[in-house]
């Protein structure tokens, strides 16, 4: 059944793989003019000046944002498509490992962009991520410094966002797709939709803590988990366990693989419900209308 849905889509539109690739390219390209105006030493102020003084910079920033969201969304759908067709088994072991790592990097490149806004939300996201890394036994502090750098600087995060993760993801995509360029139509789709969203829903900054402080949509479920599970180490263990199970899918066979995938899908649905609760039903004081 899921396979037929993907086939229906693929015969009428660009494939999710192509769309994700195109979104990645657009995000990279739109990030170039943005990086010229962005000053990591005075991140928030430089972004504020961009918003106030340059219409084109406002547009490119929003284009960068929306294409980035599309990249993550289509990547996730593309992963589900692969798993539904059991095509992960056909991948070489090394490539599978790199792809899983690239998926992790994809999340990081997204959240690092969120942190680089350096507004109230960005600072809060950095604090949470920093806390989660710190809590890892033995290597937590070193990992936190390696990923996020010094607490008073965004420089290392900026380098990872701009170079480390972007390069790695780009190389793995090309290796996986076996082409350096996605199909032209996927650009047309992605540019069209991203440009429309950039114009109609431009991205600002959250200046005040009075309004509801939200994480990025893909981490809203994580925020909920941290709310419901008081010990963040437990959350980290759950996430790491989930990632390991996902990694081992390549070597699983028969019913075990099927049930594991179904289990992961259920967890994904639960995560989605938590995300919806956070996104739509929590007020500024973190009270939920739901539960």
């Amino acid at each position: 059944m899921p396979g037929s849905i993907f086939n229906f889509w693929n015969l009428r539109c660009s494939t999710f793989g192509n769309l994700a690739f195109a979104a990645f390219i657009i995000a990279v390209v739109s990030g170039i003019p943005l990086s010229i105006a962005y000053d990591v030493e005075r991140a928030s102020d430089s972004l504020q000046l961009i918003l106030l003084t340059s219409q084109s910079a406002v547009f490119f920033r929003s284009l960068h944002y929306w294409s980035g969201q599309a990249f993550l969304l289509f990547t996730l759908i593309h992963v589900i498509e692969h798993l539904s067709k059991n095509s992960e088994r056909g991948l070489k072991e090394g490539l599978w490992l790199r792809l899983v790592l690239a998926l992790l990097f994809a999340f990081f490149v997204m959240v690092s962009g969120f942190i680089l806004k350096a507004d109230v939300e960005g600072r809060m996201a950095r604090q949470i991520l920093s806390g989660l890394l710190e809590i890892i036994p033995m290597v937590g502090t070193e990992l936190r410094i390696a990923v996020l750098g010094n607490a008073d600087s965004l420089k290392l995060i900026y380098i990872h966002h701009l170079i480390t993760t972007t390069l790695f993801i780009g190389i793995v995509i090309i290796e996986h797709m076996r082409r350096a360029w996605p199909e032209l139509l996927s650009y047309v789709y992605l540019l069209g939709v991203s440009a429309m969203l950039a114009v109609l829903i431009p991205q600002g900054l959250q200046l005040s803590g009075a309004a509801k402080i939200r994480g990025p949509w893909y981490f809203m479920g994580l925020q909920e988990l941290l709310h419901w599970i008081p010990n963040p180490l437990v959350v980290m263990v759950l996430l790491t366990g989930g990632l390991l199970i996902f990694l081992l899918l390549r070597w699983m066979k028969g019913a075990g693989s099927g049930w594991t995938k179904k289990g992961l899908f259920v967890l994904l649905v639960v995560y989605g419900v938590l995300t919806i609760n956070n996104w739509g039903f929590r007020d500024a004081n973190w009270n939920s209308l739901f539960f």
């Binding site: 918003l51 199909e183 047309v188 600002g204």
Partner: protein, 647 residues
């Protein structure tokens, strides 16, 4: 399945082109639409409150605000929200709050964490914001609750008969009622949260705002935000209901129409067309004192405690100023942060070396009452900073032991607005605006008033929760009221009131404790209390004393009412209680308030009997009234004969 590197069939290219084209057109439109102000450079956009304030691109010429609210210090968006990071007019004004003080947005504006959070929390829970007493008493009167004390919030009303009544007639008079238009405070102003009291339009600012409403030309002079809260800020709401703002200035509301006002000797017509006649102002008003000279910030904005009724929130008492003892004082260092801030804003001289009187009721500082050079309390006007003489209570105030239950206002109230009878009727066929939602609704509550009179208040007994004892206080008819058509406001009703009006009528005879704000220097005469049946709660009428036959027996007294009797309870229409009877249930709009009981009526009238022959001159006061019980025992035989009758 189509692999990622296989081309899409040509027929599916068109949707992609349509979407791509739409994106392209929107992008072109985005770049060609009207640009924001030019030139846009870093130096044009100051940093305030830690961020760039783009509002200055258009509104940099705005003046008029005090240093603490200077746009260069806090920007525009701190109060007005919106998006200060956009140079696009439309986007910059998205989410703009026109009237920042409104309660619904106050925690994001005045009450945001860097500004007045504590005050905003107190105000949102205070009676001026919740109207809790108003809601709970109204529900009690309509028979929806068993007590006049209870939960209730004017911003959270239901669709019950009582709440619908409030929604249509009363709900605008509370801080939670939002102001939707920026305008100077006038006689018709209502609500608006913080701005209800703290917005101050100069004449020029008022003119510029008026011009803006006419021509949309942006004002350049912002109204000031300050704590110079003049009486006009209280007037809009407090000229209604108990009408204390009118009373204080000596004005009494009539039922006359504006064209009929000329028949009055001294009259005033309000913006809402009510006609007032002059009855004599409060002595404090005559001395130039303002509402806030007596009422502290805590009185007005609350102290964080949830009170049921207005009188409970007020901490000031007459004896704080008019005292016989020295009082208790606190130093500047002992003051709370709000009091210190107020003294700083008022730039009060020598404030750090001054001692401040602690309120007798709450022990909290009253910052315009200080210790004078002679050690006694000294008063200073809060706005004019002028000292005023404080009278100590006259000897008569404390000479009579039986008067120790009396509040000051019992004797010193000049008059109180008194409505004798009214009727509230639900008219299901009419339409009216529901102030709560702003929409027209089917079914109207209409009030029919009989008469407004300016009379000395009635006396009764009230439980003072702060003193934890009963006191004799002033009362007015909270309502001698019939309500018709209640059932027709309920969804299950289908019987029209005209077919069986009595079936649905509610009758209430409840008086309300009042401080009418018509204080006079002179006291009421002894006779005006001890010989006036109306003051005792019996209504207008004639009292006749019979022959006293022995020294211990009850006085035979007759009372003949003047008013017709109300068919609902058989009492005279202007009465509160029955002659020489004790009524305790459903007599007042406050728990613990009641009319005089049988014994108290007798005690009051017994003095009245003596006053027939022994006027309260100093000699008689010393011989009789300051030692009344003993004097009764020592009565000569001629006191045991029939006295002459009195009115």
């Amino acid at each position: 399945m189509r692999p990622d590197n296989q081309a899409l069939p040509k027929k599916w290219i068109l949707p992609a082109l349509v979407i791509g084209l739409a994106g392209l057109m929107l992008t072109i439109a985005h770049f060609y639409r009207e640009e924001g102000p030019q030139p846009l450079q870093e130096k044009d956009i100051p940093v305030v409150m830690g961020h760039r304030e783009g509002c200055f691109l258009c509104h940099q010429e705005m003046t008029g605000l005090s240093p603490s609210h200077d746009p260069l210090a806090i920007g525009c968006s701190s109060c007005h929200q919106g998006n200060p990071l956009s140079a696009d007019k439309e986007m910059a004004h998205q989410g703009v709050v026109k009237v920042p003080g409104n309660m619904e947005t106050v925690m994001a504006t005045c009450g945001q964490s860097d500004c007045h959070r504590d005050l905003a929390v107190k105000v949102t829970g205070s009676l001026m914001a919740t109207g809790q007493g108003m809601v709970s008493v109204n529900r009690y009167v309509f028979g929806e609750t068993q007590s006049p004390d209870g939960p209730g919030h004017l911003s959270h009303l239901s669709s019950s008969a009582a709440d619908t009544h409030l929604r249509q007639l009363c709900v605008t008079c509370h801080l939670g009622f939002p102001k939707t238009v920026s305008a100077a405070i006038d006689e018709k102003s209502r609500g608006g949260g913080c701005t209800a009291c703290h917005i101050d339009y100069s004449a020029e600012a008022r003119q510029q705002m008026a011009d803006y409403h006419q021509s949309r030309e942006l004002p350049r002079l912002h109204p000031a935000l300050n704590i110079k809260v003049g009486n006009e800020r209280c007037f809009g709401c407090h000229s209604r209901s108990a009408r204390i703002s009118l009373n204080y200035e000596g004005w009494h509301e009539t039922l006359l129409k504006p064209k009929e006002a000329k028949q009055l000797e001294k009259f005033r017509i309000l913006q809402d067309r009510r006609v007032l006649t002059f009855q004599g102002a409060d002595v404090h008003h005559e001395k130039g004192m303002l509402c806030l000279d007596c009422h502290s910030a805590r009185d007005a904005m609350g102290d964080g405690t949830g009170y049921n009724h207005q009188g409970e929130q007020v901490e000031i008492a007459c004896i704080d100023c008019h005292r016989q003892d020295q009082g208790r004082f606190v130093t500047y260092g002992d003051l709370d942060a709000d009091s210190i801030k107020i003294l700083q804003l008022r730039n009060v001289e020598n404030r750090k070396s001054t001692e401040y009187l602690a309120s007798d009721r709450t022990g909290r500082p009253l910052i315009n009452l200080t210790r004078g050079p002679d050690g006694a309390v000294r008063f200073q006007g809060k706005l004019d900073q002028q000292p005023r003489e404080l009278k100590t209570p006259a000897a008569a105030c404390t000479a009579i032991p039986e008067h120790d239950r009396l509040t000051c206002q019992t004797c010193h109230t000049r008059w109180a607005p008194t409505c004798i009878e009214c009727h509230t009727q639900y008219l299901p066929d009419k339409q009216r605006k529901d102030h709560y939602t702003g929409e027209k609704v089917q079914g109207v509550w209409r009030e029919y008033k009989e008469e407004f009179l300016a009379l000395p208040p009635v006396m009764g007994v009230r439980m003072d929760k702060r003193l934890k004892r009963e006191v004799v206080d002033t009362f007015i008819p909270g309502m001698i009221l019939t309500i018709g058509g209640i059932s027709d406001n309920r969804p299950d009703s289908n019987a029209p009131p005209e077919k069986d009006p009595d079936r649905y009528q509610v009758f209430r005879r409840m008086f309300a404790p009042t401080f009418s704000h018509t204080v006079q220097l002179e006291s009421r005469s002894c006779q005006s209390c001890h010989q006036d049946p109306r003051v005792l709660g019996l209504g207008e009428g004639r009292i006749e004393y019979g022959t006293v036959t022995d020294r211990t027996g009850e006085i035979p007294i007759q009372f003949t009412p003047e008013s017709r009797r109300h068919p609902a309870d058989g009492l005279p229409r202007d009465a509160w209680t029955s002659f020489l009877e004790t009524k305790t249930r459903d007599t007042a709009t406050r728990t613990g308030s009641r009319p005089f009981n049988r014994v108290e009526q007798q005690q009051v009238l017994r003095v009245g009997q003596c006053l027939l022959c022994h006027p309260p001159d100093p000699g008689n006061s010393a011989r009789i009234y300051t030692r009344f019980a003993q004097a009764l025992e020592e009565r000569p035989s001629q006191c045991l004969q029939t006295p002459k009758p009195t009115q």
